[in-house]
């Protein structure tokens, strides 16, 4: 959230038309940031209060939302193989980068400390070194971050492409189709059941030439899709397997779109939408709570 704050104290007690208009203009200038969730809570509250009584601002809010949603669905062109080759060639022929040297360690001569101080320093140093050694050999030390991209994991690329294609048009399914969809795939699946999600639609799809299920949820003012695929498909890519072993899930961000995938006992599933993967993780965790 950005540090954009609204100060309307000067015009809070406006009574004349001109000052009311100035207050309105000031608040209207924040509507874009309001829609984009870039305002601190107290400023959001002020705008919420204003919106209750201002139809013009509510209409402008709808305009902001409509444009943001339309622009967010703009298809992304794919860089051709030829362009990628040209870039690789350009880099080979370019001057190599320069890196700043490692910071040098200044050795300073300090006065000798008394014996008690030296003992304490020795104890602390030994403790720090022991802890460091423990971290080096402990099997539970923090894992290295694995990089999963649409390129390294074709499943993610395929689902992202399907998501963008679907979101560019009219959404195909209805929630009432859920039972028919269940019968159409060779695995059983369970929709997310978080209070902040509402199931709007269900349909079948073909991902990497295999049957898949897509569920459409409303989350606040956004639509997110959940794909269900066979676990065979999910575990196909080495980078995905590595990430699942390390952290139990796979997070991928591509521009505005976030994806979170994990494995269930009978299938693999993947959430995708204009939402950060961390929020997806929170939705998944909320859904798992009894």
């Amino acid at each position: 959230m950005s540090d954009i704050r609204l100060n309307i104290s000067d015009v809070d007690f406006a009574h004349d038309e001109e000052t009311r208009e100035a207050r309105h203009e000031l608040l209207a200038s924040f509507l874009g940031a309001f829609v984009d969730n870039e305002l601190p809570p107290e400023t959001r509250s002020q705008i919420d209060a204003h919106l209750t009584g201002c139809a013009r601002c509510r209409r402008e809010l709808d305009v902001h939302r409509a444009l943001r949603d339309r622009l967010g669905n703009e298809p992304v062109p794919a860089a051709s193989t030829a362009l990628r080759s040209r870039i690789a060639m350009g880099i080979k022929n370019a001057a190599p980068p320069t890196f700043a040297p490692e910071p040098s360690v200044d050795v300073q001569v300090t006065p000798r400390r008394n014996a008690t101080t030296r003992i304490w320093i020795g104890v602390v140093t030994a403790a720090v070194l022991s802890l460091g050694a423990l971290f080096l050999v402990a099997p539970w030390r923090a894992p290295r971050t694995s990089v999963v991209t649409a390129q390294s994991a074709p499943l993610f690329g395929a689902i992202l492409a399907d998501y963008r294609r679907v979101m560019a048009g009219n959404l195909p399914g209805r929630a009432g189709d859920l039972e028919a969809v269940r019968a159409a795939v060779p695995f059983t699946f369970a929709p997310l059941s978080s209070g902040s999600l509402r199931l709007l639609g269900a349909w079948t799809a073909s991902i990497a030439d295999e049957p898949a299920v897509v569920l459409e949820y409303r989350f606040n003012d956004r639509i997110i899709l959940q794909y269900f695929v066979s676990d065979v498909l999910l575990f196909q890519s080495a980078s995905v397997r590595a990430s699942l072993i390390r952290s139990g899930s796979v997070s991928v961000t591509d521009g505005a779109e976030g994806m979170l995938s994990w494995a269930e006992p009978e299938y693999g599933t993947l959430l995708v939408g204009n939402i950060a993967p961390e929020k997806f993780a929170a939705l998944r965790d909320a859904s798992r709570k009894p």
């Binding site: 298809p75 870039i87 350009g90």
Partner: protein, 209 residues
């Protein structure tokens, strides 16, 4: 004094190249999309992206925080596009902002809340690109960086090197102008007519932003 990478081993150079590829290549598609909207032809966009990648490689030592790779790349790409005269290429004629303000007022004064959302959802990519090309460059860039490329406000401030408040106002004003442009041209688009200011609608002409 920087230490040239060429003085280190081939293995270290290869490692730097591998790290560069893993950080930069995933963003090529979106960089290409951004460049396409700011250049007269797809080949110009590809040239710009290629040049940006080469500049990024040469300056790779400046990237201190991997999590800021995408914003760093866009900043370089904007530099390349600016050198190539993107403003002159795409924005030789802009619609009058006063005229658009009037259209915007009409839009907000109407009581058909859902109409604009429906119009916006139906316009195609070409129409959207035309509309973005008709609003002032700085506003279009801010809107595109947020709404299409998914940057947060503070990242946009970093990319275009302006204060956060300026980003906020550019996005708000940019969307207003874009809405008015779309509202102005939708009847022409419905007839299959391009809205290019040079061909059909002649509002007041401005120089490059």
């Amino acid at each position: 004094m920087p230490r040239p990478l060429s003085t280190i081993s081939d293995d270290q150079l290869a490692a730097a190249e591998a790290r560069f590829n893993s950080l930069v290549l995933p963003h090529l598609d979106r960089m290409l999309g951004f460049a396409k909207r700011r250049t007269p032809s797809p080949s110009d966009a590809e040239d710009a992206v290629q040049e940006a990648c080469v500049r990024a490689w040469t300056a790779f030592g400046d990237l201190r925080d991997d999590t800021k790779t995408r914003a760093w790349l866009y900043r370089i790409l904007r530099g390349v596009l600016s050198d190539a005269g993107e403003k002159l290429a795409r924005r030789s004629a802009l619609v009058s902002m006063t005229r658009l303000d009037d259209v915007q007022e009409d839009l907000l004064a109407s009581h058909t809340d859902s109409v604009f959302a429906e119009v916006a959802s139906r316009i195609d990519s070409e129409q959207l690109s035309e509309a973005l090309g008709l609003i002032p460059h700085d506003f279009a860039v801010a809107v595109e960086l947020h709404d299409i490329d998914g940057f947060k406000y503070h990242e946009i401030a970093d990319i275009v090197d302006v204060p956060l408040g300026t980003v906020m106002s550019r996005i708000a004003r940019g969307r207003r102008l874009l809405a008015a442009t779309i509202a102005s041209n939708r009847k022409l688009w419905a007839l299959g007519v391009s809205s290019s200011p040079n061909k059909v609608i002649q509002f007041a002409t401005r120089g490059p932003a």
